[in-house]
Amino acid sequence: MRYEAPESVEGAVALLAGGGPRGRVLAGGTDLLVQLRAGMVAPELVVDIKRIAETRKIREADGKLVIGAAVSGAELGEHAVAKALWPGVVESTELIGSTQIQGRASLAGNLCNASPAADTVPALVAAAATCKIAGPNGVRRIPVEDVCTGPGQLSLGDGEFVVAFEFPKRPPRSADAYLRFIPRTEMDIAVVGAGVNLAFDDGGRCVAARVALGAVAPTVILVEEAGQALVGTTCDAAALQEMAAAASAACRPIDDKRGTVEYRTKVAGVLATRAAGIAAQRAKESR
C-alpha cells in the first residue's frame, strides 16, 4: 500500500486517476482503517485529502454554507455559524461515534462509505445539500442523494472525489433536525435515522418540508410523501401522524443484527415525528 498526501485538488485527482480501481480516498479514516484492519479492503494506493486546504475549510458567504469534505465532526461542532444555519446537519455529524471518532470523522467519509445507516446523509439530503466533486474532467455538482447508489456503491467515476458540501441559502423561519435511534446512548450505528428540514411562512404554515430516512432502505431515502404531508399544515398532530405514516410506508428495510424490519419501520415514523417537532420548534425560534 502506498500513501500519498497531495496538497492540491489536481494532485489528488491525478493520483486517484492513475491509481486505478485500487486507490482509496482517506479523509478521517474512521471507516477506512477499520476496513483495512479487517482485510475488507486492500488498496494499493491511499490518497489522504486532508492536506488540501479546500477540504478543511468551513465557509459562509451570502447565507450559503460550504463545508470541506475532510472537516471533522469536532471542527464542525465548534463552528457557530454552521451550527446556527444547519443545526440538524451539525448534530448528525456529532452523533457519529465517540469523541475520539469526532476528532477525525468527516462528512465526505460518512457519505462515501456508502452505508445506508450513515448518520449525516439523511440530514444532508433533507438539507438539499450538493456535493462538489472533482475529477479528471473538472468539477461537477450533484445532489447528495445521488452519490450513493447502493450499500458500498458510489456514482463517482475513476479519479473523482468529493471536495466539499454546498448548502442552499437558508430561508427565514426554517430549520432542520436529525435524530437517530440506537440501542445504547452512544457508540452504535443508527438502527433508524431521520433528517427533517422545514420552512414556514409568517403565518406558521409549512411551505417546504424534506424528510429523509436512513437505515431503512439500501440507500438513504428522501420521502417526498412525508414532506408533502406537512406542507400547507402547521405541523399539527394530525399532519405529523400522516407524515409518520408516509415515512413508515416508504421503509424497505432488512432484518439484521441491528434491527428488524418491523422495528425499523415503526421507529422511522416515530423519529421522523420527533425530528419534525424539533425542526418546527427551531424554525419558530429563528427569525
Binding site: 440501542p183 443484527k257 428488524t260 422495528y263 421507529v267
Partner: protein, 765 residues
Amino acid sequence: MAANSHGKTNGSTRWVGTRPVRPDGVDKVTGRARFGADVHLPNMLVGKVLRSPHAHARIHSIDTSAALALPGVKTVVTRDDFNDLPSEFVPAGEMLINYRDVVRNVMAREKALFEGHPVAAVAAVSEKVAREALARIKVDYEVLPHVLDVVEAMAPEAPLLHEDLITAGVEPAPTTPSNVAKVVEFKLGDVEAGFAEADIVIEREFSTQPVHQGYIEPHACIANYSEDGQAELWCTTQGHFVVRGHCAKLLGMDVSKLRVTASEIGGGFGGKTVVYLEPVALMLSRKSGQPVKMTMSREEVFQASGPAAGTRVWAKVGMTNAGRITAGEAVLKYQAGAFQGSPVQPGCMCAFAPYDLAHVKVVGYDVVVNRPKVAAYRAPGAPQSEFAVESIIDELAKRIGMDPVELRLKNAAKEGTKAAYGPTFGPVGLVETLEEAKAHDHYRTPLKPGQGRGVASGFWFNIGGETCATLNLGEDGTIALVAGTPDIGGSRASLCLQAAETLGVDVERIRPLIGDTSTLGYTFLTGGSRTAFASGMAVIEAARDMIRQLCERAAKIWDIPVDAVEWIDGEARPAGSNAGEFEPLSLADLARLAGKSGGPFVGRAQINAQGAGPSFGTHIVDVDVDRETGRVTIERYTVIQDAGKAVHPSYVEGQLQGGAVQGIGWALNEEYIYDDKGRLQNPGFLDYRIPVCSDVPMIDTVIVEVPNPTHPYGVRGVGETPIVPPMAAIANAVEGALGLRFTDLPMSPPRVLKALGDARVPKAA
C-alpha cells in the same frame, strides 16, 4: 475520598477498612504498567492463528507447505504437533476440565466445532507476513450441519458434536451418544407436597443469551522456549499456576521447566482462567527456537474465547396467600459450547439459595453446541437460574400485593437455614441486605410517572483453595509481600492492608508483588471471589509466621523465654513486668539486627483456605421505558451486599458497581448474533453492546458487614455476587413500568417494542 460508601465497620481495625492509594496505582495511571501485550523480547516473532470459518466441519487435511515457503515464516503448528491426551478430568478454573477437550479446544483435531476454532498457527517475522502465511494454509473441510440452540441440540435428530459423548448422570447409561453431556439433579424435601401446600403456583420459561466477559484487554502472551527444554511464558491470566499446569500437560513438559509470569491483567471476570494462545505460543517457540508473541484481535476474543452459557430455564414456585414460599422447582438447560462443562451445576445450586425452602428440585442439563466453549463469568451459572427464580418471586409478591422486599425477608435464608443445595448456612447477610434495602432512600423515594422499580437478591458460594504467600523483611524494616494470585481489581492493596493489620505496621512499608510460578508454591487462580479471602488468609498466616520469628529473635536478644515476648503495634515487647525491662524492638530494629542475630526474616504461608463465607446481595433499580422505541433507561441503581468485612471499601464498592453494570448490559443489550451458517455477526464492541459511560447512572452501594467467622477479619469474597441480581431486578422494574413480564434476555429495544405492540392487540379469548 470516595464519598459514596455507607460502609459500616465492626470491630476495631487500624488498616483493614481504610482506603489507601493502591500500591500499583501510579504505574497504572502513567501507562507504565505492563499488560499481556506490552512486552517485547529481542528476536521475537509474531504468532497468528488460523481459525475455522465453519461452525462445524470435519478436517480432512491441512496443507501448510505454501505458508512455510513464504520468506519470513519460521514455523507452522497444527493438530499434528500436539499429542492427543486421554480423557482425564482435573479441577480447573470453574469446574472440572478434561484434557482431551483442552487439547482440542486449543487446536482442532478431527473436527472444527465452532467458527473461530483454531486450526493452525504460524510464527513469522512480522504481523504482515504472519497474516499472509495464514492465507496460504489450505484446509480441506467437510462442512457438517451445526446446532447453536440448547433445546435444538438436545433433540434426538440434532447434529452430533462428539460421536462418543454418552450422557453422564443417567441410570442406566444411554447406549447412544447425544449432545447432552450430563444431567444433574438437586433435591430437597418433596416438591409435590410443597406445591400442594401452595395457594399460588407460578411457572414460566426463561431464556438468556450467551454474554461475553468483555474484558478490555484481549488475550496475549509471549513464549520463550529454550533449546534445553525450559521455557518462560509471560501472559495475561487470572492464574499463572493453572496456565503452567495446562501448558506443561499439553507440551509434555515438567512443570518445573516452565516459568510463567502473570502480566498485569486487563480484566478477566472468569474468562482468563483457561488457556487459548499459551500452549500454541510455546509450541511455536519450541519449533522456531525464537520467542513468540501472540495476541488476539477483538474479533478473535469474541469468536473463540469463553462467553457465559446461554440458557433455557423453566422454573416453578409455590407460595401461600400469606407469602410463605412452599416449594421451588426448575429445569436448567445450559449451553456448554463446543465441549462439555457448562456451569449448570452451580446454576442448579444457586437457583433457590436465597430462600429458606423445605422442598426444592432442580434438574440441570449440560449441552454441547457449535459455539465457543463457555468460560467462567462472575458467579458462573448463577445469574441465569436466579434470573428465573427472582422474576417469579417478584410476580408472586405482586400477585398477593406484598412488598417484594418484605416477601423476600419473610422467606430469606439466614444462619441455620438448610440451603436449597444441601448444607446449613452459617452467619450470612441476606436479611441484613434486605433490611438495608427497605430503609434505603432509594427504596423510599417515590417513582416518577411511567417509571418502574425492581428488586432482586442474589447469592454466590465463594471459595478458598490452595494459596501461598511470602513476606520478605528488608534490612530497613520494610516488607516485600509476594502473592500468587494475579491482581485483577486492586487485590494487592487489600493484601497489604491485611498484612499491615496483622503485623501492626504502616501499610506504606509493605510493597506487594505477584510472584511468578517459580517464586511460590502452587497457588490457585484469582477467581471465585477468593483472592481477598484466601490470599488474605495466606498473607495473615505469613505475617504470623514472621511475628513468631521476630518474637523468637527478640527473646534471644533479650535472653528471655520466647513466651515472655509479645508482638504489639509492630514491635516486640516484653510480656508484662515479669518478663524484664527492655526497650521494645520494632520491626526496623529487628531487621537491622537480623544478620548478626541469626539471619533474615521471611514469613511464609502455604495453605488450602477453607470456609469462604457465602455472599448475598440485594439490588434496587428504577427504569424508564420509551414506549415508542422500546428503549429501557436505568434511572437509578443501588447495590447492597454483604462483604463480611470490606478490607479496602473503595475496591469493594468497585466490585459491586462493576458487577451491576455488567448485569445491566446482560439484561438490556448484550447478545451473540449468528447467521444461518453459524457465523458470529457481531464480534466487536460496536455491535456487541456493553454499557458505555452515558448509558448508566451513578451506582450507589451499601456494604453490609456480617463477618465470616473463618477469616480473622471476617472477610468474604465480593466479586461474583453483584452480577447475579441485575437481570431479574431490571426485568422486575420493567414489569413495574409497563405491566409486561420479560422472560427472555436481552430486553433490547426491538423486543420491548414488539411486546408493547403485542400487548396492545387484544388477545383472542
